[in-house]
């Protein structure tokens, strides 16, 4: 396993972690000052400053990208299907412009939450079929652009409204069906927050393999967790065996960034950006 204790070259900051403290340009500048090598930006943060300015800011700060967040939200009624397709193609184009190594897919839940205005449904199997169709369709476009798609299995507590792909096994089954030749253009984004509880975690990490392990996200699970979405913990403050999981992903050959993604309305989003980044660095060296 790589030794992170001496430097933080393998640290990436998902820009949602400090989204309340500044815009994307401010975040790139703060990362450069903290000698952070990589970020993973969100589309709304890119749109806020404009794509060209975002591309320039990333370049000026000497940053690499560890991913781009996010495409997906596939389930939709027929009237909104074209909207979803167009939206996802734009996400691919932006990711390419920014030099991202992959587009992270949060696949969407039931259609009424995935694409607002779609009729109410309780058929999660149907939503899952729409997700698989959507991934297959987008993959044709993204493959031509040479951009890998990273399916992110989300914690089951988000199954209804954010992502109906909820385990690594399920995501890998989709990969096997949609990309059986393992072209390198479809894989997983593995976020410890979503998968740490899975009794099959280690087995499914081995099944993923280096070629399909496209991104690795860290944070921590707090006890108690006071909000389903916005109460993620800083690495080390919760119950996740971070070293054990990193050991497993590195054992299959993963050598990429450890990307910190923390949504924390009442704690980390309220602290100064420099303090948050300094804490990410310290925890990266000591507990990740």
């Amino acid at each position: 396993m790589r030794d992170f204790s001496d430097d933080h070259r393998a640290l990436s900051i998902n820009t949602a972690t400090v989204r309340k403290q500044g815009d994307l340009v401010a975040i790139t500048e703060a990362c450069a000052r903290a000698d952070i090598k990589a970020i993973s930006p969100w589309r709304d943060q890119v749109a806020h400053v404009g794509l060209n300015r975002a591309v320039a800011a990333v370049k000026d700060a000497g940053l690499e990208l560890s991913g781009y967040c996010r495409g997906g939200m596939f389930p939709a009624d027929a009237a909104r299907l074209q909207e979803a397709t167009d939206d996802n193609r734009r996400a691919v184009d932006e990711a390419v412009a920014l030099g991202a190594p992959c587009l992270v897919l949060v696949v969407g839940g039931l259609p009424q939450y995935s694409r607002l205005g779609s009729p109410v449904s309780k058929d999660i199997d149907a939503a899952r079929a729409m997700v698989e169709d959507g991934i297959a369709t987008l993959l044709e476009y993204s493959s031509q652009a040479g951009l890998p798609l990273a399916i992110e299995p989300l914690h089951p507590m988000y199954a209804a409204d954010r992502a109906c792909v909820n385990t690594m096994r399920q995501a890998l089954d989709i990969c096997d069906r949609v990309d059986p030749e393992r072209t390198g253009m479809l894989g997983l984004a593995v976020d410890v927050y979503h998968v740490w509880w899975d009794p099959e975690l280690k087995e499914q990490i081995r099944r993923t393999g280096q070629d399909r392990l496209l991104a690795y996200h860290v944070c921590d699970w707090l006890v108690p967790t006071t909000d389903l979405l916005l109460d993620r913990g800083m690495m080390g403050d919760g119950v996740i065996d971070l070293r054990g999981i990193r050991e497993a992903v590195e054992a299959v050959g993963f050598a990429g960034y450890s990307e910190v993604e923390i949504f924390s309305e009442n704690n980390w989003w309220k602290r100064p950006m420099e303090e948050v980044l300094a804490t990410c660095i310290e925890r990266h060296r000591t507990v990740v």
Copy 2:
């Protein structure tokens, strides 16, 4: 599938659903007035009125039980292991005294949450091993008493602090290892709240089979869910395909009670008991 529209003979009330509105005696009386045939009481509610009085109240109200909540909380350090064993044996004895058809097991999460005072651990695999040992040990005692144990897989959002058995597959794997002869003394309590999201739900229901499907719990998953524990929805108010799941459990021969278990701090716990029970009856007939 059974037709529930004309009567509510198959309805059971888990007494936590109205725990704020009255004690166990008051609940049994209200259930009798509403012509409800069964309840599933909690240990603390039984202890509050005393076991003998609880037994008499159930009998006086002409009620059956659909389960007894709950044993479990197995992970513990060595100093607290005997406490856990003794506590679970008392739960078995109480269930037998009350005439319960099974003891529901919420198996516990990491030892520091399962048995307070145990040292802090992040090793969920170790906790799971303790759970399996605990079930095997308790099964010797409960089998002699003729009382089946029902492992309740809990939603993954409770993996740290309440139950590290989080899928039906995982629970059934434990059953296969601990009770390979399928003695009828070990099975599952299937609560739609915990398992509705599982891509393998229908497959694992078939695998469970009639002999291991010991209890069936209903409520609903709300969007948004504002609290991880105390914001369960009334059947019909959320996104769970209740009819589809009941069809699957009845297809394997389940013919028991549909037990309503709702923890709802800001809604159903604040309404009069009669209104809650009347709503359970109406939803049982129309959407369960």
